[in-house]
């Protein structure tokens, strides 16, 4: 909640604080608004972001005490085509000859911006950076210069935060670690309190240090190289940026919200908050070519066990925009 305080009036803060205290006292997160996700579906499954509050964890735990959130996960609202209007189009997307664009309808009928603070849903870019984003949005449609190619299209890691709304991914937990296995790179969250890497080392996925606070995995990201764009809409952070992440899990283990504060005095006018809703996928779900890329393992007709497709990019040999596919069937 800390990051979001500034957008509320004092009375709102007091009210919310009281609710949170009540939730803590009940020793269970208020999960009423968290509905089980529907099974199956396309990329854009939902239009709303559920409320999941930070609080105690009442669900299953692993032997090392971590809340057990291991499994297959995917975002619920959209892919990386548009960061601030996730169910809108790629900005400036041309109408292909002989086709018509599907009507988008009113903005409020689509999922909200991934920027949850400021309230206008826009990244608070400095003027020069906003110019660069606009330039990218034009250049992306017909790249005449290398910087207009979305780096993920060349199999670069999707980075932060885009990995969370690219294909589905697996979260695995080990003593001292939470590991995100994405189809375009791996994020190892170190839980053992070791210091960040020396500042001059810059990485696509940054360097992550985390700890659990009840139902919330709190992660500090440094050493970010700023090279992975946030989407086909071109938003970015620089190598001077810092990201403070909170992965807030509901105790039933069905969903989590990613709520992260992005700070970068060289690109933004103020810190802002990114919110990305995610849901879990299990054996009860049908395999899904975007969110849940699995197939039944060869068990000799015993119980259902799912194999994840090979986590690999097709080595820079894909066409524009198609390079970063996993080699599944």
């Amino acid at each position: 909640m800390k990051q979001r305080k500034r957008m509320f009036k004092l009375s709102t803060i007091l009210f919310l604080s009281a609710s949170i205290m009540a939730a803590y006292a009940a020793d269970e997160v208020r999960t009423a608004p968290v509905q089980p996700p529907k099974l199956g579906g396309g990329i854009a499954q939902e239009k709303t972001v559920p409320v999941i509050l930070s609080g105690a964890w009442s669900g299953k735990r692993l032997a090392d005490g971590q809340p057990d959130i291991s499994g297959h996960w995917s975002n619920t609202i959209s892919n990386h085509s548009n960061f601030t209007d996730p169910q809108g189009r790629i900005p400036g997307e041309p109408v292909r000859a002989g086709t018509t664009q599907r009507p988008l309808g009113a903005r409020e009928d689509r999922a909200p911006s991934r920027v949850s603070d400021p309230a206008d849903g826009q990244v608070p870019f400095q003027a020069w950076a906003l110019e660069k984003v606009k330039e990218f949005q034009v250049g992306f449609q017909n790249p005449t210069s290398p910087e207009y190619i979305e780096p993920l299209a060349r199999c670069a890691p999707a980075g932060i935060p885009k990995s969370l709304y690219w294909h589905g991914y697996e979260i695995a937990q080990y003593p001292g670690y939470v590991v995100f296995f994405f189809s375009s790179g791996t994020r190892i969250i170190h839980l053992n309190g070791k210091p960040h890497l020396p500042e001059n080392i810059k990485l696509w996925n940054g360097d992550s240090r985390g700890h659990w606070e009840g139902n919330t995995l709190v992660v500090d990201v440094a050493n970010h190289n700023g090279k992975a764009l946030f989407g086909r809409s071109g938003e970015f952070i620089s190598e001077n940026g810092h990201i403070a992440e909170r992965y807030i899990f509901d105790s039933k283990g069905l969903r989590y919200n990613y709520v992260a504060e992005f700070t970068d005095p060289t690109v933004y006018t103020r810190p802002f908050t990114v919110t990305i809703p995610a849901r879990k996928w299990t054996e009860k779900d049908k395999p899904n070519g975007w969110h849940f890329e699995v197939e039944p393992a060869n068990t000799g007709n015993r119980e259902l066990v799912l194999d994840r497709f090979e986590r690999i990019c097709t080595e820079n040999n894909g066409g524009f925009g198609l390079g970063a596919a996993s080699t599944g069937k």
Binding site: A63, W128, A129, K132, V133, E135, F136, S145, P146, E147, I149, P151, R154, C155, A156, P157, A172, Y174, Y177, V179, F181, S184, G185, T186, I188, H190, K194, P195, L197, I201, L203, W204, N205, N225, G226, K227, A228, L229, I237, S238, E239, T266, E295, A297, N298, T299, G300, R302, V305, D307, R308, E310, R311, I312, C313, E315, N316, T327, G328, K329
Partner: protein, 259 residues
């Protein structure tokens, strides 16, 4: 009499030494890390000190490699004649053809002895191997599943493991032909089949052995063996090495116009 006494002494000390050795071995077996299910826990960051990746076979130094005794049992890889010609061409053009030079996936078994660390994350159902180099993740399934009945040709093959005592035995099949076995042009086809044996020598040392079979390239199966050491430096960690991005990473992120 004197000789007998000496022999007796020798025998006694030999028995004592043997007991010590057996005891030491038993102690080493007791001391290896284990999962809750009792299986050896290979979790950790590992790396070879060998020069295997420069050439699996014994080799002298060259401009781009230190010398090395090789890790091939019998020293020579048993190529079929046509494949040997290809290997020689690969060697001559290794600077441009070696997939690792392009930053591409190392594959199996190369990622095991490439001169960069890799991290094993082990659970009862699988081991996930994350090499520092590249972006691929190899999963060894230890959940009593078998190779798919309708397989793809995968970059890393399909790895199914089982435990024989404290040794992890892994059958790897269903490869594509796009990876190399080392930086000297040793290669394979999509008929590659590997059987690996992973075991602890002590808590900080792994022995890795593999039998490599490919009837399109080799005249018979052949064996390699390397030792892997655990990284124990304070705060040691993998530092992602997505080297294939270096050719274009200068274009990102956007920068303010120069004043």
């Amino acid at each position: 009499m004197k000789t007998q006494k000496a022999q007796g002494l020798f025998l006694r000390s030999a028995v004592a030494t043997l007991a010590l050795l057996v005891g030491h071995a038993a102690m080493a077996a007791d001391k290896i890390p284990r999962l809750a299910n009792g299986k050896p826990d290979f979790s950790g960051i590992w790396q070879t000190t060998s020069a295997a990746d420069y050439d699996l076979e014994p080799h002298s130094n060259r401009k781009d490699a230190p010398p090395g005794p090789g890790i091939v049992e019998g020293n020579v890889i048993p190529y079929l004649p046509k494949a040997l010609e290809q290997k020689k061409k690969n060697f001559e053009n290794r600077d441009t053809l070696d997939p690792a030079k392009k930053g591409w996936t190392l594959g199996v078994p190369r990622a095991v002895y490439y001169p960069e660390p890799f991290q094993i994350f082990e659970r009862a159902a699988d081991l996930n191997i994350v090499p520092q180099f590249g972006h691929s993740v190899r999963t060894i399934h230890t959940n009593h599943t078998d190779h798919p009945t309708d397989p793809n040709d995968w970059w890393l093959g399909d790895s199914r493991g089982h435990w024989e005592g404290d040794t992890l035995v892994v059958d790897v099949a269903d490869f594509n032909d796009k990876t190399w076995l080392d930086g000297a042009g040793n290669f394979h086809s999509d008929a590659l089949h590997i059987v690996e044996h992973w075991k602890f020598i002590d808590a900080n040392t792994l022995e890795y052995k593999a039998t490599i079979e490919d009837p399109q390239v080799f005249s018979r199966p052949w064996n390699i063996s390397v030792i892997l050491d655990r990284h124990r430096e304070k705060n040691f960690q993998l530092i992602e090495d997505y080297r294939y991005t270096l050719d274009y990473d200068q274009y990102y992120p956007p920068k303010p116009a120069k004043q």
